[in-house]
Amino acid sequence: MSNTTVNPLPLTAKDFATDQEVRWCPGCGDYSILAQVQKVMPTLGIPRENIVIISGIGCSSRFPYYMNTYGMHSIHGRATAIASGLKATRPELSVWIVTGDGDGLSIGGNHTIHLLRRNFDVNIMLFNNQIYGLTKGQYSPTSEEKKVTKSTPFGSIDHPFNPAALALGADATFVARSMDRDPKHLQEMLIRSHAHKGASFLEIYQNCNIFNDGAFEIFTEKSSKQDETVFLEHGKPLIFGAQKNKGLRLDGFKPVAVEFGKEFSADDLWVHDENDFHKASILSRMFDNPREAEHLPRPFGVFYESFRSCYEDEMAMQIGEAIEQKGKGDLNKLLRGNETWTIA
């Protein structure tokens, strides 16, 4: 071996920043997400040239310009389909998709669900801010009912999507939720997304301070976060509350919140099992409006993880088998076919 090889210095977050001026509004939740991604990337042990970030259109989709990796800022809704083609042909690349609630669930909703069912080994980061930011403030497919926006002066009559439930419905093999305001948790979820073999769907609650400020405040602010959220940890009971004195139980298929006391202790709680699809479905449906009196806390963390073969691997396998059985294709044989005749 050559002794001139120097081990490259480990990369840092700085190595992933570009010379492009970041153009999100000051205070936008996207800044935090970018910072966490830049922090996490060097820890994943992937050569920088093997990372590709593909986005669609929307505020979040500017993301690739700020990451010093390979990147494509494509067209509205299609990042998932572009990523599918790239991953199908270059399985060794680490492919990340940046999309939003409009990009990934409205105009590109079709590609999102099909990518999930095919289970390409890529990572979807869906920045959900429940609004159209780039087009200046129309309601999105995740906006709550009755929301007054530029395009719904009398309140929205659209029923919103529940992204985690949608992803589970499309047979996603990894479904998680995090938030811009919890850097540590977000980093952890990014690492888990990357570690998952298969399509990972990570919904990130992101504050658009210009058009939908405070949409997730109740989950992110210190004063209410503990009582309004439950952080999922595999093998651990579902405990929440500022005093860590509340938890979730299953009453049949119905999740109920209980307080510890005479009747229940931490031992009686629902223990989170990431690999249980049915329980993950119930968790994904804990989607109550936190402003209503009787409501359950909103789950964050990994709802579900399972394993099945990835599209790109199956594709490569079929090609490998065909070559094994028939030998590498011979162009002359193909062109000649089975039946020929000669004209002298």
Binding site: P47, P64, A88, E321, L334, G337
Partner: protein, 621 residues
């Protein structure tokens, strides 16, 4: 086993040119019968052209007029360039098939009528008035009617086979095929082999087809009423080894060849659509060539997945027809902006909207030229015959990867499903396609500049996985050279002009336009593109034979046009542009070269015929 027992008693008449139309219910296997007879003909070195005519519905109600499926085959000891106009022989499996096709039968032509298909039910379904049977009422006096109860005779031949009547009746088409093989003095080995390959694992089906085939042959051979058989001699074609090929198949082979010669793995992203789906079917079979086919969730995913694959370094293709091309428009714009290689294949059909899915038309040329937002130039290349799909798509691939641009390739339903003999090339003789990915930063480069161009104005193809070339591209306007997002007015103007100039410069890298036939200057030039090739060639040949000075040029490179096209046009007093649309190439020609070209437009979902064109051309001579 399959030879005639007493061939000497029959007189074999030598014919020069024959057109047969096989027509029956869409479930009766007429396409298969036609293609089997075609193959058999091709193997004898007889030249041929075919024209399958499918109903729009998969299975329209049995016995009805819309349910008729046809397959026209012309074969000749001369070279032929069209599937012919009037038929010499019409195989009518039922009354509807007769009704739909009678108008295209020559006076004095033969009708092979399956009498069972003319029972009262079939007559009613074919809208014949109560009590009228064309086989009996003397209305076919101008034709030679050969009545055969094909259904009955097939059942009879299969009486020892334990299949149900429905299954047995499926072999009717083989009876007809056997009869025609006898009639045209053929050896049936090619079909026997086909049946073996297809039904080898289903012995009963295999046997029933074989028996029906043989019974049809024997019927001709032993029935005294048929006194004459026919023979068409080998055609005088260029010496060489030939095979039979269909348009979509040739297209698929051309893509595989381009992949092999360029060393780029082939990726197809496609959504099923008539008449392009066969390319997807064909390519999905060739995994041993490393071909990756991706049946996408929609047209847009088909092209955008291909964009992803191209970005990763594949020879990426998407295939579609007119409505799909419309859906792909925005994505094509992205590919133009990204300046990456990509092939968009449009097998045209009648439009607008869903239009005429199974009929042919050349009406997407202007869509290919202009159908995108913004100034969005892309090269356009068109095939003119089934086998030409191979060469033309190979060229499209070459241009795409060497000039770093998406390319639109136009075929149409007529070319896609038509078959013809093909003097296939040797892989070694195909033009090399050299592709160089950018391997890393050059010693004098500090930073990668993704939009730094070469003399062709092509930018480097830098694929993910290459250290040092990490860069971002996208659909927003690019700054010249750096590729950074840029909204400056001067830069936008420059970039629009550069993208146009890049496409224009391709004219320096394609062959000059040649005349297909005729003098280089003179009175009339017939200018065509795409599938009108055969009709124009035949019409011009006929008029030349009569002593007229008339020339024919057929354009493969539609954007940019070959550099000398303008000069050619100026050498003629009249330029006539026949098209299967309402006038598209003609607009481009008039716009670009200011020539007072005249159009001839047939928009009926069927090809222009030689006779129509000869009549039209006479007006200019």
């Amino acid at each position: 086993m399959f030879n005639s027992t007493n061939p000497m008693t029959r007189h074999a008449e030598i014919l020069n040119d024959v057109v047969i139309k096989f027509a029956g219910d869409s479930g009766e296997g007429m396409q298969l019968t036609g293609s089997q007879f075609t193959n058999n003909t091709a193997l004898l070195g007889i030249d041929l052209a075919t024209f399958p005519d499918f109903p729009a519905e998969i299975r329209a109600p049995q016995g009805t007029l819309p349910g008729v499926s046809g397959y026209q085959l012309r074969f000749s000891s001369d070279m032929v360039f069209t599937p012919g106009e009037e038929c010499d022989v019409l195989v009518a499996m039922n009354a509807a098939a007769l009704k739909v096709n009678l108008k295209s039968l020559k006076k004095g032509g033969k009708i092979i009528a399956n009498t069972d298909g003319f029972d009262s039910k079939n007559l009613r379904l074919a809208n014949f008035p109560e009590g009228v049977n064309p086989l009996d009422d003397g209305s076919l006096g101008n034709y030679e009617v050969i009545r055969m109860d094909i259904t009955k005779m097939t059942r009879e031949a299969l009486k020892e086979i334990s299949l149900g009547t429905k299954e047995k009746d499926r072999a009717k088409n083989m009876f007809v095929l056997g009869f025609l093989y006898w009639m045209y003095n053929r050896d049936m080995a090619s079909t026997v082999q086909f049946l073996k390959d297809k039904f080898g694992k289903k012995p009963e089906i295999f046997e029933s087809n074989m028996k029906a085939l043989q019974a049809g042959y024997n019927y001709g051979d032993t029935t005294e009423t048929f006194t004459t058989t026919y023979k068409v001699e080998k055609a005088k074609m260029h010496p060489g080894v030939y095979r039979s090929i269909m348009g979509n198949q040739a297209l698929a082979y051309g893509l595989i060849a381009a992949s092999q010669k360029s060393g780029l793995p082939l990726f197809l992203g496609s959504y099923p659509i008539t008449p392009a789906s066969d390319i997807l079917h064909e390519l999905s079979r060739y995994k041993s060539f490393g071909v990756r086919t991706f049946q996408a969730e929609d047209e847009i995913a088909g092209i955008t997945a291909a964009i992803g694959a191209a970005y990763g370094g594949s020879l990426a293709v998407t295939t579609t027809s007119g409505p799909g091309l419309a859906l792909k428009a925005e994505s094509m714009g992205l590919a133009v902006m990204l300046e990456i290689p990509l092939l968009i294949v449009d097998v045209q059909r009648g439009g607008p909207s869903t239009g005429l899915p199974t009929k042919t038309e050349q009406s997407d040329l202007l869509q290919a030229y202009y159908g995108r937002n913004g100034e969005c130039p892309m090269p356009v290349i068109a095939a003119s015959t089934p086998s030409d799909c191979f060469d033309a798509v190979y060229e499209a691939a070459r241009i795409s990867v060497q000039h770093m641009t998406p390319v639109i390739f136009l075929s149409d339903g007529y070319i896609a499903n038509g078959a013809e003999p093909w003097r296939f090339p040797n892989a070694n003789d195909l033009q090399e396609i050299t592709v160089n990915f950018k391997a890393g930063l050059n010693p004098d480069e500090e930073k990668f500049l993704p939009y730094l161009r070469d003399e062709k104005l092509a930018r480097p193809w830098a694929i993910p996985g290459t250290p040092g070339l990490e860069h971002r591209i996208g659909g927003l306007e690019k700054q010249n050279v750096t590729g950074n997002v840029n909204y400056e007015p001067e830069n936008h103007q420059l970039m629009v002009k550069l993208r146009q100039e890049k496409v224009d410069r391709i004219a320096d890298h394609i062959p000059e336009q040649k005349l297909d036939s005729g003098p280089t200057k003179g009175k009339v030039l017939v200018l065509g593109w795409g599938s009108t090739y055969g009709a124009i060639k035949s019409a011009v040949a006929e008029l030349k034979e009569e002593g007229h000075a008339i020339s024919h040029a057929h354009i493969r490179y539609l954007r940019p046009f070959p550099a000398n096209l303008g000069a050619i046009l100026r050498n003629f007093e009249q330029v006539l542009v026949p098209e299967i649309n309402n006038g598209q190439l003609i607009r481009l020609i008039r716009d670009l070269y200011l020539v007072d070209a005249k159009g001839y437009h047939k928009i009926m979902g069927i090809p222009i015929t030689k006779t129509e064109l000869v009549a039209e051309l006479r007006r200019y001579l």
